[in-house]
């Protein structure tokens, strides 16, 4: 058989040849912008040629600081297409972390949306590897002390529209990279190869997976700086789907309007986004038409079952729950019912679909605790280990590689159960799990149960040291301002739902639970605050 390297440039070439008339629709500061794959192809070739003139060579890192739009899509193909590496910077990181990752990746060129120029202005003296900054705008270049500063549109206007993507690239060469925030310390870098991205795109097109098709109108709401918008821009281009890019500062109203006007068939994002959309639909259902949507793909963290139910029953919008992480490109599991589960009651079906699903073809998993692989009984908990051709095997030049990658497996740090059907359910993060007398207690299960109580606004459960049981669960609860309850009432509420030894030893009422910059509970902070609560 021919070698037939799996290269990202071949995806774009397919779109240029077979789907030249299909469009990418972007919401930009100057309104809705439509550009065909024929134009995308030509503009991408021009961009590669322009980057070549700026001395970008094989293996060089070219970074973006940008929202989802057609120009960001062009960088997805222009940079790996020429053999360089696309580093998509998370614009929500602190300036310190952005400085760190630009230096750690040794980025040579930055492509930025105009709104991020102030960030660069502030750190410009601390990023010595950067040789050029390109502003992605239709407008003229803003006044700036940054130098050299180029206009994206001017650069490509003067570049070669017939640039040929080199084909002597190895499919195992790096194509992209992305940094993931760590609980403590600097962000950790993951490098994606041409092979990983191509195989992952195949997985996204499978009928039993996201089933991305030419007939789809795909709207990635997940930012293009989060694990390549879950790989959707690559797969959608390859398969000739129409793409809708929501641009910066979108609101639930704007998303609902885009779905309505562009007849979006599949969209992807984190639960927070869909909670917002749900609220908007509940408030203004008559204003929108969701009938084109065949799937809402949801990942990043677990979607509450109530939200899935509301989307499906009230708005007739099918929900697909997925699981993955930066280290897994990201698609690893996806909650599809098996054919023989279609006969289950609607609540039982919902219960299956609220889990994280089963493994997509191409990957392998095992779930282990101290005694080895756990039984697939939906109860025993263990850490999820993954391996396969789109699973990372290291963090980029980072000694934390050793913790996460052992014996050829990625140790995800997620504690899961697996049911008889191979469907995983996230029970906790390794670090948050409560280990009580050798048994494991899921803080997520307890938190979800507490937050289902009418009086509870939020609840975080942590493990704190205990003289007899090593650790015991402790709940930190924020009450709604207008409802009254007590510790005893909450414990009574939990009792029928859990084994006795799972119940928190105490409930601490707080005004606020400490959170990270992305809104997650800062459990290490909470553990520090409350470490002596049960012992003194």
């Amino acid at each position: 058989m021919m070698e037939g390297a799996l290269l990202i440039s071949k995806m774009l070439e397919r779109a240029e040849k077979l789907f030249p008339k299909k469009e990418v629709v972007s919401r930009t500061s100057s309104g809705i912008h439509r550009v065909s794959y024929r134009e995308i192809g030509e503009r991408t070739r021009r961009l590669s040629s322009a980057l070549e003139k700026l001395d970008v060579e094989r293996g060089d890192k070219v970074a973006t600081l940008a929202w989802n739009d057609h120009r960001h899509l062009e960088t997805y193909f222009a940079v790996p297409g020429m053999g360089a590496v696309l580093h998509t910077i998370n614009v929500r990181l602190s300036p310190q972390h952005i400085t760190y990752i630009i230096n750690h990746a040794e980025d040579k060129v930055l492509l930025v949306d105009p709104m991020f120029l102030p960030i660069l202005q502030a750190i410009k003296d601390q990023i010595p590897t950067v040789e050029a900054i390109i502003v992605m705008t239709d407008d003229s270049l803003p006044d700036s002390e940054l130098s050299p500063l180029y206009s994206y549109e001017d650069l490509i206007a003067n570049a070669n529209p017939n640039y040929e993507f080199p084909k002597d690239i190895d499919e195992n060469d790096p194509a992209g990279m992305c940094f993931t925030s760590a609980t403590t310390g600097k962000p950790k870098g993951v490098v994606y190869t041409h092979r990983a991205i191509t195989l992952h795109s195949f997985a996204l097109g499978l009928s039993d997976s996201a089933a991305i098709s030419e007939s789809d109108v795909v709207m990635p709401v997940v930012p293009m700086f989060h694990v390549n918008a879950w790989g959707m821009p690559f797969a959608s281009t390859w398969f000739g789907s129409t793409q809708v890019m929501p641009g910066p500062a979108f609101t639930p109203e704007l998303l609902a309007e885009l779905i309505t006007s562009e007849k979006v068939t599949i969209t992807a994002g984190v639960p927070t986004i869909w909670l917002g959309l749900l609220k908007e639909l509940d408030a203004n259902a008559a204003r929108y038409d969701m009938s084109s949507l065949r799937a809402v793909l949801c990942g990043g963290s677990a979607a509450p079952m109530g939200m899935i139910r509301a989307f499906e029953t009230k708005h007739n919008v099918p929900f697909i729950h997925a699981y993955g992480m930066t280290e897994t490109t990201p698609l690893a599991t996806l909650s599809r019912l098996k054919s023989y589960q279609e006969d289950l009651s609607s609540e039982d079906r919902l219960e299956v679909r609220a889990k994280q699903g089963y493994l997509v073809p191409g990957l392998e998993m095992k779930v282990v605790n101290d005694e080895g692989e756990v039984e697939w009984n939906g109860e025993d908990m263990g850490e999820l280990l993954l391996r396969g051709p789109w699973i990372a095997d290291e963090y980029y030049k980072d000694e934390r590689t050793e913790e996460a990658f052992q014996d050829g497996w990625l140790h995800t740090g997620d504690i899961v159960t697996v049911d008889e059907e191979g469907v995983i359910k996230i029970a906790d993060r390794t670090k948050d799990l409560v280990k009580s007398g050798g048994e494991w207690i899921s803080t997520i299960d307890l938190e979800n149960a507490l937050m289902a109580h009418d009086a509870v606004f939020e609840a975080a459960v942590i493990g704190v040291p205990h003289p007899e049981w090593q650790e015991r669960p402790l709940a930190a609860v924020v009450l709604k301002s207008d409802v009254v309850t007590s510790k005893d009432e909450l414990l009574e509420f939990l009792k029928p739902q859990f084994a006795k030894w799972w119940l928190p030893d105490d409930i601490v009422f707080m005004d606020e639970i400490p959170k990270t910059s992305v809104g997650k509970f800062q459990k290490n902070n909470l553990r520090e605050q409350l470490q002596n609560h049960l012992t003194v």
Copy 2:
């Protein structure tokens, strides 16, 4: 990223873990036989272990002479799973050719259906590499002079059910092989790698391709000795589909019954099979229920548009036309409408779908004639060239490699047109095309037009030498016994459909057109007979 070799054993392991209850249904001499993927997994491991005891080592060739059933499926995974190479022998070849390919492949073990033992009996002294013959039967071993002769079921009963498939196999190692008949000379061997078969399986699962899914009931009617039954057993196992294996000597009635009783959702085979099924459905529609069928995949040769129309309009069975060959694993193109073509009239849609379709993701094509790449206008003809990771790059130890594989492309020998949408239509075989004064004339188009005339039973068009135009088309026509026509009437009938210079210079009436053993027109024979027809 991890290397994550693409290995065939991983497909079976997925089915064992995620779909243990799903079934493979076989029609055998002892009736319908059902076996679950859990059992298939165990039986396959036993088979690998039994072959190991018979001294089968990495790279050794293990051949099958068998129809489609669960045991043949087990060999699909047991042989490549252990690192050996599965050679699926075309049982319809002559004993001379079977002898040749067994020797050329150096097959070490043969797995055969009992009905093929007489063939082996006849050639047993001419196949010195064969060290063991295993009979695939539920019954006791027949009396035979063949030695050593083993019973498949006895062998696996005494083997290790926990055999572990080795994982240190390179994905570029050979996994299977298949010989394709040549117009002249011995069959040519094509070797499939683990990588090629895995990537091809991904392609079969894509939503825009065959979309093989867990919810499918897949019936490969195409024999498992024809390019791995078009790869469907691999993809179906990987994705957890139910499989229905029609066994030996099936008839249109039996196929219609299996579709009805097993609720088959997708089936695959050559036009002859579907013509037979169509006739049966037309005659006895009330007896069958085709409502489960979501697709009939048709390849091997072009399906007449009338047949596609009849299936879709009379029986409501959707047809998917595909193109490929032994050298392409085989899926290369597939006739799916693009989303914006759904608005076409039903006849225009049919016209698109009667073509061979556009390229699946992962492959590259070009269409060339003497002047370079042809324009995609639906008219200009050129030879179809293919490349990609599931396209062969040689014939196995065969000097004919040079003809077909040049400059990194497979030269398919098929002359096609490509329309504006990238959809190919087979116009002719390179060798059959008429080259008249530097212009090309498609014999297939002329034959189809002639066969649409009420009086014509069959028609073959060939190019014969001509003093002025180098070659001119000549039609050989067999008339139906009860209808009268003349040469002039047939030429008049053709006139409005073709440019004047396309019309045959003469029409020769015959009693029969010479055919090959598989029923194709023997055009080289015909050309020899009629070579002086226009010059003397």
